[in-house]
Structure formats: C-alpha cells, structure tokens
C-alpha cells in the first residue's frame, strides 16, 4: 500500500484502475477496499495535482503560456473588425474575422501541446479552458449591440414583473408556475442596483460555461485519475456545447444544478464494493445463460473503480445540500427535474449509487410542485403536456427531420451540420467506450448516465427541442468517452507521446472547432439584436397605452421586457401565417376583429430574418407587406429606423392617430 501511494504521488496522471490491473488484483477485492481507505484518509486526492505545475518555466512551458495569451490578444484586437450588419444566412461565421479563427486554432494547438507534455501543467491547461470559454461564448456579446435572443427580453419581463409587483401570476405565463430562476434574477438585479436583467444578461453564456467546469471536473475525476483524459474531455465539452441553452434562461442554470447533483452522487454516493449486500455479492447467475449474457450481467454488476468515502455526518450534509439544490430545480424549470429523475433513478435501479429513497423523494418533490403550484398551467395545457406522450417518431421528427427540411437552404445546411456533428461526437463516444471496455475499465455508471436521458424523447417533444435537450444532458458523458478514445491505454505515465495520437487529437479538435462555427453561430442572423430594433420597442412602449394589442410582423421581437401584463402581444406568424400571400385588406379585416381600439404592428430585422430562415419566406416578403400597408388607408406608419418600422391600425377610425 505504501508503495502504491508513493507511486501515485510520483505519477499524478496514472489511472487507479491501471494500477490495480498492473498489480494483478481484480477489482472488488481487498486491495480495492484498501484503496478506498487510502482515499478516505486523504492520502490521495482525486482532484487537481499539487502546485508542482508552478515551477520555473522551460522554453516549451513558456511557449504553452505565451501562445494562448497571443491567441487571446489576436482575438481581442480582431473583434473591432466584425460588422454584424454584413451577416448572411450562415450566421456569425460569415462575418468573423479570419484572425479570430486563427486565434482559436492557435489556442487549440497550444492546448494539445500542453496536454501532451510529459509533465502536466494544470494551471496552463486551466488558462486555456478559461480563454476558450471567453472567446467561444463571449464573442457574440462583445460584437453585438444588444443582448441576443428575443426570449431574453421576455425573461427580462418576468423578472421586471416580480420586481414591480412582488408576486407572480401563473395565469399570465407558464414560467410563472416555475418562477425560481426569475425570482432569483429579480432579487439579484434589485440588490445589485440594476433596473433590468438586460444590463448583464449578455454575459450569461460565459458565466454559465465557467461554472459548468466545476461539476464536470468532479464527474470526470470520479471515473478516472488520468488527468489528460479529464482535461481533454473538458476541452471537448466546450467545443461541442453548441446547443445554446446557456443564454440568460432557467435551463442554463438548471443544467449546472443537474451537473452538481450528478457530481455529488458520483463523488460520494457510489456504492462501494464492500457496501453491497452480502447475499447479492455471492449470488451466481444461472448457468443457462450464454457466456456473453453472463459476461454482460457481470459487467453490469461490476463496482465503480473510484469511491471516495466520507464520514456519515458528511454524507448527510452533502445529501441535504443535494436536496436543497434539487429544490431549486423543481422550483425553476418544468423539464430539468425529469432529467435529474431519469439519471438518479437509473443509477439507483442499477445499484450504482444510494440512497435508494432519493429518486422517490425527488419524485414526491416534483409531483408536489406540479400538483400544488402549477394547476393554473396544467388546467389549460394538459394536451400540450401529455398530447405527444408515446409519439416517438413524431417527437423525433419535430426535433430533427423537420428542422432540416423547413426554411431557407442555408439554414437547412446549418441544421444538417448540427445533426452530423451530433452523430460525430456520439460515434467517437461509442468507439471510446468500446475501447475502454476492451481495456477492462468499469464504466457502467457513466454509460448508464449517457443513455438515461433518451427515454424522455418518448414523453414529449418540448416544442421540438427535446432532442436538443437530450443531446445537452448526455454531452458530459459523451465527451468523456470521446476523449477516452485518445487516452485509454494502460500507462502509468506518458514519457513519450505518440505523434500519431497528437495528430489524431488535433484533427478531431479541428473538426469539432470547424463544426462549432456553424452549429453554435449558425442561427445568429436571426438571434442577434440591434440597438435600432430595441429602440423601436422602447418607442412603442412609450406611446402605446396599457391594454393595447401589439402585433409583431413575425416572431423574434425583443419585447415584453416590461409591463408584461399590460399589453397583449401577438405575432402574424401565429394569427395569420399566410399573411404575405394575402391582400392588406384581409389583414385589416383580421386585425379589426380583435376589437381593440389601440393596435400596433411592429416589423423588425430579426422578425424578417426568422421568417426567411425558419419558415422559408422570401427575403423581401415582409418588406412587400410593409409597402402595401404604407399604401393602404387602414395602417399608418408612426416610426421607422434602420431595422424597425411601427404601424398603427387606423382601420376603425380612418385617420385616428396615436
């Protein structure tokens, strides 16, 4: 044991599993328990290696520090040359300065170079991760004029409602039935001295991705002590998190909370071999099973390699923390509790973690919230919640195939790229998992977690986003196995790295980075907001009296950020989808039937972009509608700037102004 400890301290990047294997001691036997005791005593910390990475720099070490700083500098000075107004249907990639792409490629090369050094430099690797997060997830906020995503403005409206009224109204919007995130936002905004979340919401992607680092690091170090594998998996995560759920939203926060819950369970609540019931431990599979089935069942029951044991009172403290965190999950998002439940239940059912009652408690908490706090929502939306249950092909179709067959051809290309990149990372993960399996690693818990979210596709299509959410919640485990493809050999320490392996890692990184430019930034043409668009909405709110009907030319309008309950907001995409094929008189007729004395129509650049990209309308379809409205007597233009026009409906009064 002492010899083992000595070895471990000397070679910080070796795998415990490797060591056990080399020692010819099968997992689950005495040495495994001794190993756990060693961890318990604190002799081995499965976290960051010590500060041995902070030694005097050698030339190569200096290069590994200077290269990322140079890349960051290159990126920073290149931002000023980006003009979002020149963007085309391919999104941000169409206007990104080549220097920004070069900066990212330099950063990637530098990361791989650092990773492949015989001596691990944790602080330098961490520097690379922080810089790549800022570059990949902060660029949009730095080059665009206003917070991106129309939905962020609606989220600002929820928080503003709570700040102004001190309450929520579940009849107004579904999110008021799960208001935790907005209560937190309203509270933080008010005590931080801001008037609106829009003052800081643009930095949400950077903030979220920075805090995702901690729980993912815990998850990865709970399966391996091979730090190269851990850091490459983390790097892969940031190159593949194109899902864009990290904007200022409840789901962005809830993904962090999900990771924390899973990280706590994997770090401290995995079932240690000696903790398994005596009876089960000696249970033998019936001999009628074929060898492959017996092998599979044995593999399924194999204990996890790294179990960190703490005192009972510490376990209770951690468990209480986990339940408090899950309380916020239940309180703040309708979907995430089910992803947590799916993962935790899977782990408990397959005896990968305890306590056994945890999923039961979580189910009770989720059910109680649904039953007592969301009745207003469920009463009117039961069909929406349960209508697609079991319709697997329909749910997959709305999430996948319809996205590649609708809209503008360039947008279809983006959607197809997303599917290809999803398939690419999943295939890498599959090969990596098989490779680790063949090397004797016991990864059953992590394989189960990688597949646990998939059954939720059966339950819902979640507005066509369920497949995307499944991708997100499986991503940490998928990137781990994908990274394992490059670091699965039994080696105590890397003395000399294989050039072929280095080349393979670089090529994979280039593919992932290249894909990221399209998958992450591909919708930017309709997602970004200009000051002119936001100004038009400010103007609209300044003139429209309460209870007015506000109609957007299409979806994607940066409105509802204040006085959420005082205006009725509609979109022509919903009330008259074929409006561009109809005469203005028909539009006037439909609007007139709304029976509201104050009706305003707002056309913005983002609306036109979405109508074109997602719905395949001609580029000038809404412009032609505006021209027709200008010529008609039913509508009067009252505001116009570069990116927005506002009309008032005067059909009822023939000339009545605002």
């Amino acid at each position: 044991m002492n010899l083992f400890k000595l070895k471990y301290k000397q070679e910080s990047d070796m795998s415990l599993v490797d060591t056990l294997k080399i020692g010819s001691t099968p997992l689950g036997q005495q040495s495994d328990i001794q190993l756990i005791d060693t961890l318990k005593m604190g002799s081995i910390q499965p976290g960051l290696p010590g500060l041995n990475s902070l030694k005097l720099p050698k030339p190569l070490d200096a290069i590994c520090v200077l290269l990322p700083l140079f890349a960051f500098f290159l990126w920073a000075i290149s931002l000023q040359h980006v003009s979002v107004y020149d963007m085309n249907d391919l999104g941000l990639i169409s206007v990104l300065s080549p220097k920004i792409i070069v900066a990212l490629v330099i950063l990637m090369f530098s990361f791989v170079l650092t990773l492949q050094q015989p001596q691990m430099r944790v602080s330098v690797l961490a520097l690379h991760i922080v810089l790549v997060i800022i570059i990949l997830y902060g660029t949009e906020n730095l080059i665009e004029e206003a917070p991106r995503f129309a939905v962020v403005y609606r989220h600002a409206g929820y928080a503003e409602y709570i700040m102004r009224t001190g309450t929520v109204d579940p009849n107004l919007d579904a999110y008021f039935s799960w208001p935790g995130f907005f209560v937190l936002s309203a509270f933080v905004t008010r005590v931080a001295g801001y008037q609106t979340i829009l003052s800081y919401a643009g930095w949400a992607p950077v903030f979220y991705n920075l805090i995702y680092f901690g729980p993912m690091y815990m998850i990865f170090t709970s399966i391996t002590t091979n730090k190269r594998l851990v850091w490459l998996a983390l790097w892969f995560f940031y190159l593949t998190n194109w899902i864009a759920q990290d904007y200022f939203s409840p789901q962005g926060l809830n993904f962090f909370l999900y990771l924390v819950i899973i990280a706590i369970l994997l770090t401290w609540f995995k079932i240690a071999p000696k903790a398994k019931p005596h009876k089960r431990q000696h249970w033998q599979f019936p001999t009628r099973f074929s060898p492959s089935v017996s092998w599979f069942l044995s593999w399924l029951r194999a204990p996890d390699p790294l179990c960190l044991i703490v005192q009972p009172w510490q376990r209770w403290a951690l468990l209480t923390s986990l339940i408090v965190v899950f309380g916020l999950v239940v309180f703040s998002h309708p979907l995430t509790p089910f992803f947590v439940l799916a993962s935790v239940t899977t782990m408990v059912v397959f005896r990968r973690c305890h306590p056994f009652w945890l999923p039961i408690l979580m189910a009770i908490m989720t059910g109680a919230w649904l039953f007592f706090m969301t009745q207003a929502f469920l009463a009117g939306h039961s069909n929406m919640v349960l209508g697609n249950f079991g319709a697997v092909s329909s749910n997959i179709s709305s999430s996948v195939t319809s996205r590649t067959s609708n809209g503008d051809p360039q947008h279809q290309f983006i959607a197809l790229t997303r599917i290809i990149m999803t398939g690419f990372i999943w295939v890498l993960a599959f090969i990596g998992a098989v490779r680790r399996l063949r090397k004797g690693h016991q990864d059953i818990t992590y394989i189960l977690l990688a597949v646990a979210p998939f059954p939720l596709i059966v339950a819902q299509d979640y507005g066509g986003e369920m497949f995307l959410r499944v991708y997100l919640f499986t991503l940490p485990f998928m990137v781990f196995f994908a990274a394992a493809l490059f670091y699965s050999k039994y080696r105590l320490v890397i003395r000399k790295t294989s050039p072929w392996m280095t080349i393979a890692i670089i090529v994979t990184n280039l593919v992932l980075l290249g894909g990221f430019f399209f998958t992450r930034y591909g919708n930017e043409y309709m997602d970004y907001m200009t000051n002119a668009e936001v100004d038009s909405v400010y103007y609209l709110y300044s003139i429209a009296p309460p209870n007015s009907l506000l109609i957007a030319g299409w979806n994607d309008t940066p409105w509802q950020y204040k006085n959420y309950e005082k205006y009725t907001c509609e979109s022509l995409a919903e009330i008259l989808p074929d409006v561009v094929n109809l005469k203005v008189s028909k539009l006037a007729q439909v609007i007139s039937s709304q029976r509201n004395p104050h009706i305003y129509l707002l056309f913005t650049r983002g609306e036109k972009a979405q109508a074109h990209l997602l719905y395949g309308l001609p580029n000038d379809a809404l412009d032609r509608l505006e021209d027709a409205m200008l010529k008609s007597e039913e509508f009067k233009q009252i505001y116009s700037n570069r990116d927005a026009q506002i009309f008032i409906f005067v059909g009822n009064t023939k000339g009545g102004g605002s």
Partner: protein, 112 residues
C-alpha cells in the same frame, strides 16, 4: 488556527459587510454589482460548505456556488409566496446567515 481555517470566515465576513455597505449606505458605489454578485453567488453556500470539511477545492467551490444560488432563490421565493417580497430584507437575512455561520466557524476552530 491556521491560515486556511480563518481565511474563508474572514472573506465571508468582509463580503457580507461590503454587500451591506453598498446596498444600505453607499448604493451609488461603482463596484456594487460585483460585490453583491460575489456575495450572493459564493458566500451563503461557502459558509455551509466550510462545515462539511471537504478537502478538494473544486468540490468546495462547485457545491458552494450551487448552494448559494439555491439558498438565495429559496429565501427570496419563500418571501415572495408569503407576500413579503422585500429584496433588501432578503439580503439582510443572507448577510445575517453568513455572519453567524462565519463567526461559528471561527469560534469552532478556536476551540478545536
């Protein structure tokens, strides 16, 4: 007492006092958002996590941030549902919670 035992309680006490100062005494302070967000996102959770005696810094930080956000939201949410929405009061509760926790830690480490 070693440096590691008093450092975090000291940071938490200073952060709590600073958050109170920029909210209740000098609300025009330039660094108010940074100070308040630091306090709200780290301190309520860290004051608890310090009692757990976890060795690993990344685990401490991760759980501290998750707990902080949860405690902030749950306290504010309970006040809202109770019809007592009062952000300054919520902040006061959290400041008090952190101060008490940090003082207990200092006292505990002194005696141990």
């Amino acid at each position: 007492m070693t440096r590691s035992t008093w450092l975090w309680p000291a940071i938490i006490i200073v952060s709590a006092l600073a958050a109170g100062l920029v909210n209740f005494v000098i609300p025009e302070a330039v660094g108010r958002p940074i100070i308040v967000m630091w306090f709200l996102f780290v301190c309520p959770g860290m004051v608890l996590v310090r009692f757990f005696r976890l060795e690993e810094p990344i685990s401490q930080w991760t759980i501290a941030i998750a707990l902080s956000l949860s405690i902030d939201a749950l306290v504010a949410g309970i006040q809202m549902y109770a019809g007592r929405w009062f952000p300054a009061g919520t902040l006061g509760i959290l400041i008090g919670f952190c101060l008490i926790g940090a003082i207990i830690q200092i006292g505990k480490f002194k005696t141990s």
